[in-house]
C-alpha cells in the first residue's frame, strides 16, 4: 500500500503541466485576432481549471473541492453563452 502514499507528487506533476498548457492557450487568448478566439481561449482555460481544481482536491486529500469544480463547469458554460449572445 506504500505506493498509494506518494501519488500526490504525481498529481502535482500533472497539475503543473496543465497550468503550462493553460499558459499556452492564454497566449492565443491574448494574441487572437478577433473576439471569438479569445472566447475559446477562456473556454479552454475554464475546462483546464476544472481538472486543476479536482487535482488540487486530491493533492490535499480534502474532498470538498469537487463542488467548486461543479460550479465551475456550469459557470464556464454560462460565460460562453453570455459572450456569444452579445
Amino acid at each position: 500500500m506504500t505506493g498509494l502514499i506518494h501519488m500526490p507528487d504525481f498529481f502535482l506533476f500533472v497539475a503543473v503541466i496543465i497550468v503550462i498548457a493553460s499558459f499556452v492557450s492564454l497566449y492565443r487568448g491574448i494574441e487572437g485576432p478577433g473576439i471569438f478566439n479569445r472566447i475559446i481561449a477562456v473556454n479552454v482555460i475554464g475546462t483546464k481549471t476544472i481538472v486543476l481544481l479536482v487535482l488540487i482536491g486530491f493533492i490535499y486529500q480534502r474532498q470538498d473541492f469537487f463542488d467548486i469544480a461543479l460550479v465551475y463547469a456550469i459557470l464556464n458554460f454560462i460565460m460562453t453563452i453570455a459572450a456569444t449572445r452579445y
Binding site: 503550462i20 487568448g29 491574448i30 473576439i35 477562456v42 481549471t49 486543476l52 473541492f65 459557470l75 460565460m79
Partner: protein, 81 residues
C-alpha cells in the same frame, strides 16, 4: 513542493492582468478578466480557503462578467484611448 503550482498560477494572473489592460477591444478585455477571476479562485482554493474560492468562482465568472458584457452591449465596443 507545492509552491511550484502557486508560482505558475500567480504568474498566469500577472500576465492576464497586463493583457487585460493592453487590449484595445473592450469585450476581449472583459473576457480576459473572467479568465483572471477563474484562476484567482483556483489560487484561493490552493491556499486552503474553500469558501472564498467558492464565492470568487460564483461572483467572478457568474455575475461580474455578465454585468460587464451587459454594459458593453449598451455602450460602444471599442475604446478610443
Amino acid at each position: 513542493m507545492i509552491w511550484i503550482l502557486d508560482f505558475t498560477m500567480l504568474l498566469f494572473l500577472v500576465v492576464c492582468a497586463i493583457a487585460a489592460i493592453s487590449i484595445k477591444d473592450l469585450l476581449s478585455a472583459v473576457i480576459i478578466l473572467s479568465a483572471y477571476s477563474l484562476v484567482m479562485a483556483i489560487v484561493w482554493v490552493e491556499m486552503q480557503s474553500v469558501d472564498v474560492g467558492f464565492t470568487e468562482a460564483a461572483v467572478g465568472a457568474g455575475i461580474t462578467t455578465v454585468l460587464f458584457i451587459a454594459t458593453l452591449a449598451r455602450t460602444e465596443g471599442r475604446s478610443e484611448d
